[in-house]
Symmetry: C2
Subunit: 210 residues, 2 copies
Amino acid sequence: MVFDPPFGTDTDETRPAIVRATYEALIEHGYENLTIQRIGDEFPKSKSLIYQHYDGKDEVLVDLLEFLLDHFETQMPHPSTRDAHDCLENVLDFVLEPDPDADRAELTNVMVELRGQAPHNETFEEYFTANDRQFRRDLADIVDRGIEEGVYRPVDAEAVAEFLLTTMNGQTMRRATADEGVDAAAIRAELDAYLRSRLLREDRANGEKE
Amino acid sequence: MVFDPPFGTDTDETRPAIVRATYEALIEHGYENLTIQRIGDEFPKSKSLIYQHYDGKDEVLVDLLEFLLDHFETQMPHPSTRDAHDCLENVLDFVLEPDPDADRAELTNVMVELRGQAPHNETFEEYFTANDRQFRRDLADIVDRGIEEGVYRPVDAEAVAEFLLTTMNGQTMRRATADEGVDAAAIRAELDAYLRSRLLREDRANGEKE
């Protein structure tokens, strides 16, 4: 699956360059050891610009989180003219990427570190809650479309979406925090078995690869 | 599901009392704002004892993480004389608790904050990796037992365990970071549907509640 890293192109604008420097500093040092000094080390212009544009690292981090969530959303495969099940498989292929490259792995680590702050950071919690809600709605829309197309059984699309989202979040978290232990192929195989038995109508399920 | 909070009984021993104070400080202030000073505020004895027993907060945090993982393990329902599927349902009831009380919610928050450090904290990553591995082995043992008992179909027990673990981790993470958005009943219903279609033999599946 093609994945464009965030900040793929250089920017001359100051605020995006500060956000980018924050991302690089997070990859290098982790959330716990992030300081404005270390953001400044990754920032090609004068450090004083950081203070002119932001009140502190918490404010830059919110801009970074918003940028990363938007970036991930733009990378997500969008509904095509193919049937709903192809769309869903594309989304799963993308999110559950079995073999992420270094850029993708770094992004996953940063997202999980930011998400790990949410229990004590209301702003982050609001962003992640809103992002989960939007993603669940997108997934439910695909399932509803599959029901209309006659590809899927008349399931509870919201419940299926909630379950898929939770499993995807679980893999993302485990990948960033227990990487060597994660068997992405097994997770995907069981998820596909669930989709075949729960969603797909017989004729379509029989055409699927086992 | 009965859940005993960690540190349910007071201790006079110094090191456990410091670990407990660290837990209380984490609940109050979060990982980002944890300091030895704040641990000291929750510690009933002299702060200087903290420095006599620990080199710094990182060392106390490792003891705390070990304690919490052990505590969770002791709370987990253990295999009973009933059949494997009852055991598995008990584990799912416990981990996916639909209505956690305040003590349980606080523990979940602390665990997710600690886990969120793992991308840049090798010691934490090792603990979470080992803990995931042990839990997955326990789950696979239950599934294997179900196959032997003839309750389950001859599935790949390791793959099923990996999938269940990932979904449980996903719910735990979402609960701590996007709480109002989590629909525990939906997740459980879809997981039960998966178990019925993937694992349970026909006669047993038909006896299950829909």
